[in-house]
Subunit: 128 residues, 2 copies
């Protein structure tokens, strides 16, 4: 039986690149990795799950911070090795630095400059 998960081209570590994009503004909020279980859970629950490479474990985004991502749509690219999710970001903060997006550094005159504000102190986000 064919399965949509089999059409994903998992890399040699069993992972696929996953991009979370704000469904309203289309801003890219974060980019991480999913294994098969994470993608299955994301589709089944409608809440974004990733595979944490640093912690080597399944990671329900927002499990500590409360900044869950509700998934409205999933797309796969032509090569099958990239997932893009249209999401609604709880708290309006995707980045562990307390910013809306993890893409907060812009290349300006040969330097990466943090151009977006910290909306909430990370210490406050992860204190509970």
């Amino acid at each position: 039986m064919s399965n949509w998960l089999d059409e994903v081209k998992w890399d040699d570590k069993g992972l696929v690149t996953a991009i979370a994009q704000d469904a309203r503004t289309q801003r890219v909020l974060m980019v991480a990795w999913m294994n098969r279980e994470a993608l299955q859970l994301t589709a089944d629950t409608g809440i974004a799950h990733y595979w944490s490479r640093s912690r080597q474990k399944l990671w329900k985004k927002g499990e500590e911070s409360g900044h869950l991502q509700t998934v409205q749509a999933l797309r796969l690219d032509c090569d099958g090795d990239v997932i893009v999710m249209q999401i609604e970001q709880a708290g309006g903060i995707a980045c562990h630095t307390g910013r809306e997006s993890c893409l907060y550094r812009q290349l300006i005159d040969g330097e990466w400059v943090a151009v977006d504000p910290v909306l909430k102190d990370p210490a406050a986000i992860y204190s509970h």
Copy 2:
């Protein structure tokens, strides 16, 4: 001397994930890889360059198709392992299938469904 390229966290193959996003609509058009030379060239020329993993060579996007990508801004994520580019897509076609975006398949009722139209026959794109 510090260099902005040294702040990028290159993976074990010397690559970083690069996302091309339409500067006007914010649609994600494609996702590929860059090595140090590709990123340097992208910044220096303002035209997106990638590293083709399948061909194992530097790849100036649009060199065959004419579908060049003019880069308006470059961003780096908090981990330093993802680049997002704001681009203008020549011809309005980023995908080798002749579609606007490589992300043309959406998960609908457990199947990846091609929901975007082919704008130009790939045979016509790559014939010259």
